[in-house]
């Protein structure tokens, strides 16, 4: 099996793929990016915290027209994972308004983005319907 690496720093692969955030130790605000300080309280201490892998689709769009090289159509959405908002693609669903529904339950899944010259696979996350 090819070596796999996560597409972004905040994705943890393995038997139990999940996202991690930098959670502010002082106020609990959660961030996916590398931090200098907290955007909510300016605190500088963070803990790596696991994000729930199940959530609810809080908003979405179906992108039909994108920058060159980006395959369309695809569903982009905001998933509410137990109070933490996550930006993601929504996959394994027909990309139309009959099938993608606001409020629908979704769960984290992973998919291979591609391989580099060394044969290493980059693995990304997305959410899929959990009904």
């Amino acid at each position: 099996m090819a070596e796999q690496i996560p597409f972004v720093d905040y994705l943890v692969l393995g038997d139990d793929p999940h996202l991690v955030v930098n959670e502010c130790s002082a106020c609990g605000a959660r961030f996916f990016d590398r931090r200098n300080a907290c955007g909510s309280c300016s605190g500088t201490e963070f803990e790596k915290t696991r994000v729930a892998t199940r959530g609810e689709l809080r908003s979405f769009t179906i992108v039909a027209f994108a920058a060159p090289g980006v395959p369309v159509p695809f569903v982009a959405g905001i998933v509410d994972c137990d109070g933490t908002s996550v930006r993601s693609n929504i996959v394994n669903v027909e990309p139309d308004a009959e099938h993608v529904k606001l409020g629908m339950p979704v769960r984290l899944t992973t998919l291979v983005v591609g391989s580099d010259s060394e044969g290493v696979e980059a693995v990304n996350f997305a959410y899929e319907p959990a009904a």
């Binding site: 590398r34 769009t61 039909a64």
Partner: protein, 400 residues
């Protein structure tokens, strides 16, 4: 007690495709026209603030001076995404309010015709070894792989989120909002597009990012707008005609987005607009019911809906019913975007935050011709620059 500040002169160029004119031609045209409209010259100005986001000559403020009059005054070059024009105006207002200048000039200009999609980088195939970059440590561009970065998609989600929270918002409703603005634009000779569009035409046009089809997206175009502001005490020394046409800036507010859960995942354009609106109504001593017309930032049809609520034109959660009541139509109780809005008037980014004030002033002065909103005494102009900045100005008809 600080000075009251007035719009003395203001102009926008025709929005659209200006093949023969470059950024500087457009900026100069608006600048000279605004000065003439106010009956003043570059020599009177105590400050210039200007903005241009895409490809113009830098620094834009000094470059404008080199064409229209180099008088050695302080020049501020500002950048605040789609709120750039409003920010330039706000800088000029602050200078006058602080007593540093009697007159100030603000200019916004953009050459955007044919620019296509804004934001969202082209994806290139690259077979070199994966390398992490950026603050998320991504090994390749994330647009299209982790949601979307294109503006029609971002604002689609902003509208859909409102629909999820309160219900009643669907593709057809968003398209109806666009239908209203395209209808309004038929009366605006300065709009980039002034063609009547049926609901069917709008819904069947090219889908960009559901539920926004092409005519539901702001139109990339060329254009400029400029405004001259003056202190209340200086205005009293000017002619009767200048005093009669001057428009009082009853409120001038700029906010940025405060932290809230999720705001760094999907931009929250709601809270900073609501905060700006509250401050503006308080400064002006008026409420939403006093407004004769509103120009709000309909960069996409999905955005207009949420701002009915954010500007408190309706009850909280009541934007769908507000729209369905017909209130925001030009013949309704609270006309919104009678200029045609950004979907048809066009959106030359840095010019937008002054052009919307021109529209409101045009009505308050009673000079809007066939599209005049009769009896308008107070109006509100709103812009959002994603990232985010919100500018709100409340304008009042002169009593002189």
């Amino acid at each position: 007690m600080s000075e009251d500040v007035y719009i003395l002169g203001i102009k926008m160029t025709k929005f659209g495709k200006h093949k023969e004119l470059d950024t500087l031609d457009l900026a100069s045209e608006a600048t000279l026209a605004a000065l003439k409209d106010g009956g003043v010259t570059m020599k009177d100005m105590g400050i210039i603030a200007a903005g241009n986001l895409m490809s113009g000559p830098l620094p834009i403020a000094q470059t404008i001076q080199k064409q229209c009059g180099q008088t050695g005054i302080p020049a501020y070059n500002v950048s605040n995404a789609c709120a750039t024009g409003a920010t330039a105006l706000r800088v000029a207002i602050m200078s006058v309010k602080a007593g540093e200048s009697d007159f100030g000039l603000a200019v916004g200009v953009e050459k955007l015709a044919g620019a296509g999609l804004l934001v969202g980088g082209a994806r290139q195939e690259d077979d070199a070894a994966w390398q992490r970059s950026g603050r998320y440590g991504a090994v390749a561009p994330v647009d299209g792989r982790i949601g979307t970065e294109i503006m029609p998609g971002v604002f689609a989600q902003i509208g859909m989120e409102y629909g999820h929270k309160y219900g009643g918002a669907n593709f057809e409703l968003f398209a109806q909002i666009s239908e209203k603005n395209h209808w309004h634009s038929t009366l605006n000779p300065l709009a980039a597009y002034s063609k009547l569009m049926s609901l069917e035409e709008i819904m069947n046009d090219i889908m960009i990012a559901y539920p926004n089809t092409r005519p539901m997206c702001s139109a990339n175009c060329d254009g400029a707008a400029a405004a001259v502001v003056v202190s209340g005490s200086k205005l009293k020394t000017l002619s009767q005609e200048q005093q009669r046409r001057a428009v009082k800036i009853a409120a001038s507010v700029l906010t940025s987005d405060p932290y809230e859960e999720g705001c760094q995942v999907l931009p929250n354009v709601n809270t900073l607009t609501r905060n700006a609106a509250k401050q503006a109504y308080e400064q002006a001593g008026v409420g939403p019911k006093d407004l004769g017309l509103v120009e709000l930032h309909d960069c996409f049809a999905t955005a207009e809906l949420v701002h009915y609520d954010n500007l408190m034109l309706c009850e909280e959660g009541g934007a769908v019913d507000f729209f369905k009541s017909g209130a925001p139509r030009r013949d309704g109780s609270m006309p919104v975007n009678v200029s045609g809005g950004l979907q048809s008037k066009g959106h030359p980014i840095a010019a937008t935050g002054i052009a919307n004030i021109w529209e409101v002033c045009h009505h308050l002065r009673g000079e809007a011709g066939p599209r005049q909103i009769e009896g308008a005494k107070v109006g509100l102009a709103h812009v959002i620059g994603l990232g985010s900045a919100c500018g709100i100005h409340i304008l009042e008809k002169s009593v002189a």
